[in-house]
Amino acid sequence: MSRAVEPAMSRDRFERGLLKVLRPVVIAFLFLITGFPFLYMVMLSVRDIQELILDPGSLWPRAFTLDTYENVLTRQGFLVFLKNSAIVSVASVAITLLISIPGAYAVARLRFFGRRQVHFLFLAVYLFPAIVLAIPLFVFFTMIGLRGSLIGLVLVYIAQTVPVTVYMLRNYFETVPQSVEEAAAIDGCTRLSTIWRVVLPLSKPALMATGLYAFMIAWNEFLFALLFLVERRESWTVSLGLSQLAGSIEIPTTVLMAGSVVLTLPIVIVFFAGERLLTEGLTAGAEKG
C-alpha cells in the first residue's frame, strides 16, 4: 500500500515545491512587465531631453524638472486638448446614462413588441467593427460640416456605448425586487417617478460602473477622433494631440512623455476609484476594446 502511494506523493510534493517557487517568479515577472513601463514613463517625463540622449539606459533622472509638463500643457496646447477630452467624455457619460437608463428599464421590466430581438441588435452593435462605420460617418460628417466639431464625436461614442450600458444596467435592474416597485406604484408613483425615486437609488453601483465604462471609451478612443478632428488643432482630444505630436522631431521625447502621463493619469485615477464596480460590470457585460 505504502509503495503504491509513495511515487504519487513524491510527484505531488515535487509539483507543490515547484509551484511554490514558480508562482512568485511569475507574479514578479507580471508585475515587472506591466508596472515597469509606466514607472519608466513617469521617470522620463521629469528629466531633460539631453539626459535621455546622453544616457539612455538610466532609470533615475539626475536632475528633476517639471518644465516638461509646463511645456506640454501650455506650449504644445495640452490644456486645450484636456478641455476637449473632458467635454467629450463628460457629455458622452451624461447622455449615455440618460439614454440607457430608460432603455435598460424597459428591457428589464416591460413587455413590449420586439423586446427579445433587442438583444440581438445590441450584440451586433457590440461586435461590429468600428472601421466599417468609420467610412460612412466620415463622409456624412464631411458633407454636413460636422467634421472638426466635438458633437459628431460625442454622437459616435454614445452609439457605441449605449448597447453595452443598456445590457449592464438591465442585468442590475433585474435584481431590484419587483415588489419594491409595486409598493411605489401603489403609493401613487408613475412609471418615471418609480424609476427616479426607487430603481435608480437602488442601482447606484451599476450606474457608477456604467458611467465609468462610458468615460473610458470616450477618453481613450482614437480612430474617430483622428478621422473627425485631425484638421482642426483646437478641437483635438488628448489622445489625438499626443499621436499627432509624437511624429514631430522638434518636440523632445521627454516633453511628450509628460503628455503621455497627462493622458494616462486621469483614466487610471478614475478607473481605480471605481475599479471594483467596473470590473464586475465588465465581466458581466464584457467590454469592447
Binding site: 467593427p129 456624412f140 478621422l227
Partner: protein, 304 residues
C-alpha cells in the same frame, strides 16, 4: 380598465423608453452600415460625393480593384497571423496570471492593479511608450541588448539563425501585453466562482496540482476561454489603432484595417475604402464560422 389595456400600456411605455436607444443605434450604426455597403458598390470620392445618387451606377469595380491591388493578400495574411497570435497569447498569459493571482498573498492588490494598467491606459499613450522604449537610438530596451534592434521598423531579422518578422512579432507582443488583463479579468472571475468542493475532493483523492488543473479546473474554464477567444478574435481582426500607432502599417505589419484607412484618407477613394472594409468584415464572418465549426467539433470530441 381591462387587463388587456394595461398590457397595451406597458407595451407602449416600453417602446417609448427604449426608443432613444433604438434611434441612436439606428442613426449612427445601422444606417451608416447600409450606406457603407452602397458606397462600396459605387465610384465615389469626396469630391464627387454630392453627385453620386442613391440609385445610380452600381459597379463591382471597387472590389476587383482592392482585391487585385498589390499587398492585399499579404495584408490579409498579416491580419490573420496578428489576430490569431495576439488572441492566443493574450488568453494564455491571462490564464497563467489568473491562476497565479487566484489565492491571496501579500501585495496582491497592488500587483493586480499594476496588471490592469496596460488595458486601462489609452492606446495612444502606451503605443508611444513602447515606441520610445524600443527606439534604436535612445530606447531603454536597446541599451540592454548587445546590438540595437529596430523593433518597429525592421521587417525581417535573424534570430538564432532563423528569419523572423521582427516588427510583426513586436506588434503581436504589444497586443498580448495590452489585452492579457482583459482575459485575466474574465478567467479570474470564473475561477473565483468555481465551487471549491471539486478541487478539495481531488486533493483528498491525491491529485497533484497539475492533475487538478488538467482534470478539475480546465474543464470548467473551457467555456469562458472559448467566449474570450471569439471576443478577442473579433476585436483584434478589425483593430486599427494599435498597428497604426506603432508602425503605421510599415515593415510588414500592414493589416487590412490600416489599408481601409489609407484608401480613405491618403487616396481619398471612398468607394475602394468601403469595399475594402466590407471585404474585411466578410472574411471576419467566414473565419468566425470556420472557428465555431472547428470548436463545436472539438467540444464534441472531448465527449462526455
Amino acid at each position: 380598465m381591462s387587463p388587456r389595456t394595461l398590457r397595451q400600456q406597458e407595451g407602449r411605455a416600453g417602446l417609448v423608453l427604449i426608443s432613444p436607444t433604438l434611434i441612436i443605434t439606428l442613426v449612427v450604426v445601422v444606417l451608416p452600415l447600409l450606406w457603407a455597403i452602397m458606397l462600396a458598390f459605387q465610384d465615389v470620392r469626396l469630391i464627387n460625393i454630392r453627385q453620386v445618387g442613391l440609385f445610380g451606377n452600381y459597379t463591382l469595380e471597387n472590389f476587383a480593384y482592392v482585391v487585385s491591388e498589390p499587398g492585399f493578400w499579404s495584408s490579409l495574411v498579416n491580419t490573420l497571423v496578428y489576430t490569431v497570435a495576439g488572441t492566443g497569447l493574450s488568453i494564455a498569459i491571462g490564464l497563467v496570471t489568473a491562476l497565479a493571482l487566484r489565492d491571496r498573498f501579500k501585495g496582491r492588490t497592488i500587483v493586480r492593479a499594476s496588471i490592469l494598467i496596460p488595458y486601462v491606459a489609452p492606446v495612444v499613450a502606451v503605443a508611444f511608450l513602447w515606441e520610445t522604449m524600443l527606439n534604436p537610438q535612445y530606447g531603454i530596451v536597446n541599451t540592454w541588448l548587445d546590438e540595437p534592434i529596430a523593433f518597429l521598423s525592421q521587417a525581417q531579422g535573424e534570430f538564432l539563425g532563423i528569419q523572423v518578422p521582427v516588427a510583426l512579432l513586436t506588434v503581436i507582443a504589444f497586443e498580448a501585453w495590452r489585452y492579457f488583463p482583459f482575459a485575466f479579468l474574465f478567467i479570474l472571475a470564473r475561477l473565483q466562482a468555481l465551487p471549491s468542493e471539486l478541487d478539495e475532493a481531488a486533493v483528498v483523492d491525491g491529485a497533484t496540482p497539475t492533475q487538478r488543473f488538467r482534470y478539475v479546473i480546465m474543464p470548467q474554464l473551457w467555456r469562458i476561454i472559448a467566449l474570450l477567444a471569439v471576443l478577442r478574435f473579433v476585436f483584434t481582426f478589425t483593430k486599427f489603432d494599435d498597428v497604426y500607432l506603432l508602425t503605421g502599417g510599415g515593415a510588414g505589419t500592414e493589416v487590412v484595417s490600416v489599408r481601409v484607412y489609407n484608401f480613405l484618407t491618403a487616396r481619398d477613394d471612398i468607394g475602394a475604402s468601403a469595399a475594402q472594409s466590407i471585404v474585411l468584415a466578410v472574411f471576419l464572418v467566414v473565419f468566425l464560422i470556420v472557428y465555431l465549426r472547428f470548436f463545436a467539433g472539438g467540444e464534441r470530441e472531448q465527449g462526455r
